[in-house]
């Protein structure tokens, strides 16, 4: 890439950050995210991973079903494990699955959208029929069936979410590519002899990347909520427990009737905070990419 193009991209990133910084909701979302990402990264410092092992918990002499007043900071569960440890380590799994599934979703969606919009013709027709087919299939039952057949692992969950949730991204990106393609600078590049890949890379991508970024940020909450629901229904990875898995275990083992609020509140609040934060950041990015939206909000 030429230094001129690099400079322009850096300048546009700086401009975006300046706009982002002036948005209160965006900065609040970013602050919440920073806290949770820091927690996920620093998990080994915050809690001993062995606390997740019921044998270790018993050997430590942990009490069973202890409220936070008896076992700091968040009490224990039905097999004496620290709820704090599950919260800290669960944040890693939930964030990782949410982000990885979103990367897959956006990757498939963007490739389909760009190819479909840019190439057009019969390719567009075929790709859009496939997209519509995925769009009408109810997404959660499809994810459930796939996850049941594939088996319970983190990577399968990521695959299942990615494969089922890309169509809306594809449609959005395609629409944007179609409008960008009509612009004069694309004609100019073409008449100067530019080939398809060059045009996509230099002229189309920079003009849809803001939209893709906003869409990706707004797709993370959906990925996280889907992972949570799948885990709650018993399709989560048994060896690496997410927040959704914690909620499932709490529910199945009778935390509700015991009113063991310390067991099911932290994980749910964690999901709520992370999903809300991504939504706030995503809406801000969306308003930057499409200033007309801000007037309607």
């Amino acid at each position: 890439m030429t230094s001129l193009a690099m400079k322009r991209r850096r300048a546009s990133a700086t401009r975006m950050w300046t706009q982002f910084r002036s948005s209160r909701q965006g900065m609040i979302g970013l602050a919440i995210l920073a806290v949770f990402v820091a927690m996920a990264l620093a998990a080994p410092l915050l809690s001993d991973m062995r606390e997740l092992n019921p044998v270790f918990a018993r050997a430590q002499g942990n009490p069973q079903w202890a409220p936070p007043s008896e076992f700091a900071p968040l009490g224990t569960d039905y097999i004496r494990r620290s709820v704090w440890a599950q919260f800290v380590w669960g944040s890693r799994v939930s964030l990782f699955v949410g982000l990885a599934a979103t990367v897959l979703t956006v990757l498939i969606g963007s490739v389909v959208g760009i190819v479909s919009g840019f190439v057009g013709g019969r390719v567009d027709g075929v790709l859009m029929r496939v997209t519509e087919w995925f769009l009408v299939i109810p997404f959660l039952p499809l994810a459930i069936v796939l996850a049941s057949v594939l088996g319970r692992s983190v990577w399968n969950i990521i695959f299942v979410i990615g494969v089922t949730s890309w169509p809306s991204t594809a449609r959005l990106v395609r629409a944007q590519v179609l409008t960008v393609k009509q612009r004069l600078f694309v004609d100019r590049a073409r008449s100067l002899g530019a080939r398809g890949w060059h045009i996509v890379n230099r002229h189309i991508l920079p003009n849809v990347s803001g939209l893709i970024l906003a869409n990706a940020t707004l797709a993370v909450p959906i990925s996280i909520l889907t992972e949570t629901t799948l885990a709650f229904l018993g399709l989560g990875d048994p060896s690496s427990a997410s927040w959704g898995k914690t909620l499932e275990e709490a529910f199945v083992n009778g935390a509700m009737t015991r009113n063991a609020w310390w067991y099911f509140l932290p994980a749910g609040l964690g999901i709520l905070a992370v999903v809300l934060a991504f939504t706030l950041v995503g809406r801000t990015l969306e308003e930057i990419a499409n200033p007309k939206l801000a007037e309607r909000r």
Partner: protein
């Protein structure tokens, strides 16, 4: 389990055949309306599903109706009183409910109103061992449906509020509203007769499309309240996994979405004469 029993079961469910044969058999039988036999209950899948349909339709119907009504009204208030405290309360409230897993909201309401303050039952559709009939039975059911219906209503109304709000904001800039005001019409009448009817078009479509999706959206909430509908049947089938049951449910959920999409298209064309294809 002895090997002989396992072999007999495999033969009984046709699992000893090659995958291609199994698939052809599945397609042929499905077209004829035979969805197979459930692994868990050993009953025909279609019977199991048919038994579960009324409970889900009741629960989803009530919550879809309530969330559409309340959500739309909230959206109208928020748009008409844009940037006031009412708008801000509605917008942030709906975002909060959107951000929590629906089943977790269900768990909170369950603990709050069935355990800590036990005014509602913890689950099921009627009291265990109840032999009541007629009106008493209906009241018992209403008592049981209350918490799951409120959970789903809260979970879905945000979407309606946001769509209505942004659709009404679009309409509010239009010239014909200025004309209506210039004629001297009161604010209330401008809103009711001129702004809202046009703004509701996308909401009607959303409602129809949503109803198809909501059928499958209640899976986790039904599991929380042991509500004996399609969602709980799905949750139970996952534990097996009871694959014939899951296949049948998936087929039904997909069919529901397609049918309600069609209904949405038809209603839209009827309500908005500008759409003519």
């Amino acid at each position: 389990m002895p090997q002989e029993t396992i072999d007999n079961l495999r033969v009984a469910f046709g699992l000893d055949q090659p995958l291609s044969t199994q698939f052809l058999y599945y397609v042929r039988e499905t077209i004829q309306g035979n969805l197979g036999i459930s692994y868990q209950s050993r009953q025909p899948v279609w019977d199991e599903i048919a038994n579960a349909i009324p409970a889900t339709v009741a629960l989803v119907g009530i919550s879809a109706l309530l969330s559409a009504l309340i959500g739309t009204v909230m959206g109208i208030v928020a748009a008409w009183r844009r940037n006031t405290w009412k708008d801000q309360a509605i917008t942030s409230g709906t975002m909060l409910f959107y951000s929590m897993p629906d089943f977790w909201l269900g768990m909170l309401l369950l603990v709050g109103f069935a355990v800590v303050i036990p005014i509602f039952p913890v689950g099921g559709i009627v009291d265990a061992g109840s032999t009541e009939t007629g009106l008493a039975r209906l009241l018992d059911m209403a008592h049981h449906i209350f918490l799951p219906a409120i959970t789903l209503t809260l979970a879905y109304l945000g979407e309606y509020a946001l769509i209505t709000r942004s659709s009404l904001l679009d309409v509010m800039g239009e010239d014909y509203l200025t004309v209506a005001r210039a004629k001297g019409l009161r604010d209330k009448i401008v809103r009711r007769r001129h702004a809202v009817p046009n703004a509701l078009l996308p909401v009607v479509t959303l409602a129809a499309i949503n109803f198809g999706f909501v059928l499958s959206g209640a899976i986790a909430v039904e599991a929380v309240y042991s509500w004996p509908g399609l969602g709980k049947a799905t949750a139970d089938a996952i534990r097996g996994p009871d694959l014939p049951m899951l296949q049948g449910l998936f087929l039904l959920f997909s069919a529901a979405v397609i049918v309600f999409n069609l209904i949405a298209d038809l209603t839209y064309a009827y309500l908005d004469p500008r759409v003519e294809d």
